[in-house]
Symmetry: C2
């Protein structure tokens, strides 16, 4: 993703964020440092911490506070990925072996916990109670979204889908921008606007992720294709297929052999127009994101956020 979208206005600070993230592994007991480095290093797009820094650029930008918060956001995200891989039994993450695959499930649970704790520590460095509370609420939301996803496996509708991706993904995007805005001391209206931007960009981002799970290239994604379907999770493309009048065939496929069902369903998604429809829906969320920040000053950060809103729906990995 970073190939096309660059966050120039905060590029130098992002190096400081990387340094801060690397510090988590460096300061850990020697026995677990390697696993932490493996989880935290490279491969990630770092969109969320960039959003925090960009949101901070609209008023009083305190590099120290922003860097801690941005690192906290990314470390929290990484923690959820490490646990996700134990839950989805995923062998590959960000193009390399998952922690679970390389060091086993038990270790992955504990490494994820350690990362949660580290992210809480980074966020506490801001000494700002509002973002600390936001952080806790966001983590609750993510877990609740993940739990709903697993509980609702093989039973979804559009509304349920939007609620789940709002909880498990968009919420952290919203927290990323909102926390930057809070720490910059922006007025309440602007905090809400940036939060809304993050929320909508997060929705768009997840929908495109779910599209790419059907039409993406394994190499570009850094994970196998149709992994959601294999987990029994219906994402937007399948839900749109099921909404169609001719969905009887889809239901028939689903009631048959599972492996064959996945293959057939993938083919139906790819050869129908649902992918275009999904991109349109993602586009709507992106437009809402841009609209949310319309009243904010037109600085370099604004331009960057606007270009992200456009880019998210164009990305192919």
């Amino acid at each position: 993703m970073s190939v096309a979208w660059t966050y120039d206005p905060v590029k130098s600070d992002m190096a400081a964020v990387e340094e801060k993230i690397a510090g988590v592994a460096r300061q850990a007991p020697a026995e677990i440092a390697e696993q932490l480095r493996h989880a935290l290093e490279g491969g990630g797009k770092r969109v969320r911490p960039a959003l925090t820094l960009l949101a901070g650029k609209f008023k009083r930008y305190n590099a120290g506070l922003m860097t801690s918060m941005a690192a906290g956001v990314e470390v929290l995200h990484t923690a959820t990925l490490v646990h996700d891989d134990t839950i989805d039994n995923a062998a590959v993450r960000r193009g390399k072996m998952s922690i679970k695959q390389r060091w086993g499930n038990s270790n992955a649970v504990l490494i994820g916990d350690y990362l949660f704790a580290s992210s809480a520590g980074l966020v506490a460095e801001t000494r700002n109670i509002r973002v600390i509370k936001l952080f806790a609420r966001t983590l609750m939301s993510i877990c609740s979204g993940e739990l709903q996803e697993s509980i609702n496996a093989f039973g979804w509708d559009r509304e349920r889908y939007f609620q789940t991706i709002s909880d498990k993904t968009a919420c952290l995007f919203a927290a990323s921008t909102e926390s930057g805005a809070v720490l910059a001391g922006l007025p309440e209206e602007s905090i809400q606007a940036l939060g809304e931007y993050g929320q909508n960009i997060g929705m768009s981002f997840q929908i495109v992720d779910d599209i790419l799970d059907f039409v993406g290239q394994k190499e570009a994604l850094g994970k196998p294709v149709t992994s959601d379907l294999a987990q029994g999770v219906f994402t937007l493309p399948v839900i749109l297929l099921l909404e169609r009048p001719a969905s009887a065939r889809v239901k028939e496929v689903l009631s048959g052999d599972r492996q064959e069902g996945i293959r057939l369903l993938t083919e139906m998604v790819r050869t129908s127009s649902v992918i275009d429809e999904c991109y349109e829906i993602a586009q709507q969320f992106s437009s809402r994101a841009s609209a949310a920040i319309e009243r904010l000053p037109r600085n370099a950060a604004h331009e960057c956020l606007t270009s992200l809103a456009a880019y998210v729906t164009e990305r192919r990995s």
Copy 2:
């Protein structure tokens, strides 16, 4: 444990803590409330939150702050238990089915995460940055201790053992008392003293736990006996056996059949004097705990803490 030790000076507030803990499940999305209730309700001794409240009784006791912190401490403890059970593959916890056993591993990972987030939220309610940071550090310590325990399975010495139980258990006891002291606005010296009390009582508590894993009754413990040994974890009784001049027989047992090894080793522990030695060591930590708070005012909370120090080494479940 509560049979013999009662925390009368904070008894009425403990009801408010229970109410706060129950609120975590009550405020959660309906789909996960039952699992949260299952994890949080009953069975637990609630020693840690009682310690927080008791430590708060030495100066400015703000019931609202204390209750949030105490609930946060217990919810954090519960979160670690839920994850422990996925790691140790334990079917029983606090005398009932573990979350993992009843709802599966993936759910247990997410429910544990949700509880971590909830505990972070409760601690943030105190609006006190120092205890919020302490909370994050404590969780890091617990994970690091658990990771060390799993990495060092079947390879221990006394020093390593003390370090591990300090990280995984005593640290949270220390945080329980320290946070209460901080929130009560005690002078630094008293905060340190109460932290030291917690640290030492936690060491004593864990050593007795490890003794009971050999000599306790399954019904009283609410879990199977010798579960540590089955996980390949050597606790103090085995380490003391191995330190003896006649430890060749122990090593021989360990190199043979695993099931038979566990049986033989358990018998050797039970028929030797190592259990008495372990109780003596626990006693030393308890004495250090009492000594640490010697200079604090002799109020009802002081009496209660002192009686706990004595009781910990007498408990049989």
